[in-house]
């Protein structure tokens, strides 16, 4: 509580608010409150309770994330490589900075420095814009590589309907990555490696990081998977190409090391080409998942990989939605309320509340960033 007294001396707000209302309720004081303090405390309490609901709401997604990651850590470890760590990092900086300017804006509003408040809220908005721009690039990249949510991929201009694809590139797409280690004979029967010559291999070999390739084989070594008989190529290796974009160098040879103790089929190839074969198959399976035969296609690894992107898009999508809402409210306050000069030591509730909201958005990103981008 010493802090409270500190602040009083520190910032000449003193008992201004008090004096103000003793005689007459200020215009912003609702009829059922007795003092502005009571009103501000109520508003803050209400806001905190609202923030609690937000946390619980995101909590559901974090729960889905945890369960899937807990069950399929290797899928997550692999899939996250499709995300650009740098983008995530830049966005974190954007949000922290805008959070800082927002906190600063609350301070200036409390002190009644209208112009500074205006500028600082503008900077906060800019931070939000920066975040959105980066997100747009990220989403665009995913979209280009068919790493989108569920059926939305079908709307992609390059999307090849599985039925058509089945005629065009019918052969060649058996086998893929799976973490289910149990059935070796399946691995032997459907060892995907023999299909490793699809066009995707070129790209992959050229660009995949060694680590990535290793991951794939690491996964494949533990099981394999077969596609439905009509498993078409669909969109070729789309989910596979994405890490390619993120990756810097090709060092597919590394795959060998990781695959050394794996099944011989996979190990024998020991090249990125082999992995590309898997990737290809995955792409096929992926497309297949959205075809008419959805029902008969059993659970497959590609679907679990897909889980990551579904969760990624739902989490970041909901978060981005919150950023947008926050930006809307900030812009409204900044352009419609702040210039009127109504905020000062006696009344700054809206700025304070939107600040709390904005910080919460930041706070959620602080958890999203390591959980989505920095998986090991």
């Amino acid at each position: 509580m010493t802090q409270v007294t500190d602040s009083h001396t520190d910032d000449h707000t003193g008992h201004a608010g008090h004096d103000d209302h003793e005689h007459h309720g200020p215009p912003h004081l609702a009829h059922h409150f007795e003092t502005p303090e009571q009103q501000l405390s109520s508003a803050k309490l209400g806001m905190w309770v609202f923030l609690a609901t937000e946390i619980l709401m995101f909590g559901g997604l974090f729960c889905a994330y945890s369960v899937w990651r807990g069950n399929h850590p290797e899928v997550f470890a692999y899939a996250h490589t499709a995300l650009n760590k740098d983008f995530g990092f830049i966005n974190t900086i954007f949000l922290i900075t805008s959070s800082f300017t927002m906190a600063w804006a609350v301070r200036t509003a409390q002190l009644g420095r209208t112009k500074a408040t205006f500028i600082l809220m503008g900077l906060t908005l800019l931070g939000g814009c920066g975040f959105l721009v980066v997100k747009t690039f990220e989403y665009k990249a995913k979209w280009d590589h068919h790493l989108f949510v569920g059926d939305l991929n079908e709307h992609h201009p390059d999307y090849v309907a599985p039925a058509e694809a089945a005629h065009g590139e019918a052969d060649g797409d058996h086998g893929a990555v799976d973490e289910h280690a149990t059935i070796e004979q399946t691995a032997a029967d459907h060892g995907a490696a023999d299909h490793g010559t699809s066009d995707a291999s070129v790209e992959v070999a050229g660009e995949t990081t060694g680590e990535t390739a290793g991951e794939i084989v690491g996964g494949a070594e533990r099981t394999s998977i077969a596609l439905a008989p009509d498993g078409p190529a669909g969109v070729v290796a789309d989910w596979m190409v994405a890490p390619v974009i993120a990756g810097e160098t090709a060092d597919a040879g590394h795959a060998d090391d990781h695959a050394a103790d794996g099944t011989d089929e996979h190990g024998a190839h020991g090249e990125a080409a082999a992995d590309a074969g898997h990737a290809d198959a995955h792409g096929g399976g992926h497309g297949d998942g959205h075809s008419v035969s959805k029902e008969i296609v059993p659970l497959k690894d590609r679907q679990k990989i897909h889980q990551f992107f579904q969760i990624y898009f739902l989490m970041t999508g909901l978060h981005t939605f919150h950023v947008l809402v926050g930006m809307g409210v900030i812009a409204w306050l900044m352009f419609c309320k702040v210039p009127k000069g109504i905020f000062g030591p006696g009344y700054y509730t809206p700025i304070d509340l939107v600040g709390l909201y904005w910080h919460l958005v930041d706070l959620i990103w602080i958890f999203l960033f390591p959980l989505l981008y920095l998986i090991h």
Binding site: V292, S293, K294, E295, I296
Partner: protein
Amino acid sequence: MHVLSTLAQIGSGNLGMPPQASTYAADIDWTYAFTFWSCTVAFVIIMVAMIWFIWKYRHRPGYVQQGAPAHSTSLELFWSIIPTIIFLVIFYYGFTGFVDMATVPDYAYEIRVKSRKWSWDFVYPNGAVSSHLVVPKDTPVRLVLSSDDVIHSLFIPAFRTKKDVVPGRFNWTWFQAIANAPIRTEGVSADDKLLDKELGLDYFDLYCTEYCGTNHSMMRARVYVREPSVFQEWVTKQADILGTMPPAEGGKYLYTAKGCKQCHTVDGGAGNGPTWKDMFGYKQPLVGGGSVLADENYIRESILNPGAKLHEGYSNIMSSMQGNITEDEITAIIEYMKTLSDKGPKPMEAWPDAAETPAAAVE
């Protein structure tokens, strides 16, 4: 009659529970009875006290209210702790009973249960499949449950066993049957009479208890408990059930056994799926325009991949039979459909080659 039998059942020492036909049923009933009597005593105490107080302290002329304490910590602790102890005892019995139900003996006989909207397949280790569950008496039986579409739940009241059948995973349950059901005299349907020839009318009910769509309430099966030797005989015969009859008749058998009956009629009536009457050999209109001749290929495709060429006027609700049906069974169904249509070739009289009878299809 119902009233009497109902009252008799409630009045019996069983407290309204079904007959005890599995090893752990008695234990569960004991827990049930313990809880029941504890609750009854508590309920009577509460109600008697309440009514007595209301009577004794009701407002009336001449009644003068006396003061009474507004709280008594010791009294409140008393009625907090006593229920807690009783609850913990109930929990303990429930828990130990559950542990028995969750611990399957190693040597249990394993039956696969495959379910879909809206039928059950019970697959025995020798490959025999039936739509009703037949189990050997006094033998632990482990049911491994899987679903092709949505969540179902297998419930056998007489065994006190229940487990959800969740798609995308295996659930299991087990029981050891100790008694068979009495022979039914009431409520025997026409279907029952057909089945009676095969298995008899002494069966327990098996229900699906997780809501699964239109015909959820018809997703029932019968449970027969048989002496192990009789069971062995039955399961051996069942493995080659198709071989014992001509293809078309086998198809008719499968029509019921595979649950086709739930959606497809054979008399031209409407159903969730197109009727089989006059289907074979006719052009069938398709969703999205066009038509297709209902020949062997089309029917085979529609069984294995129902959504591929969807019949006009129906939605894609059928689950693929992929993995749940053999080629011979498909053939038998096609032959049966031929008998229902006035077009197309005559059905086969007999299986073409002895070596290709369904027995060969059994692994």
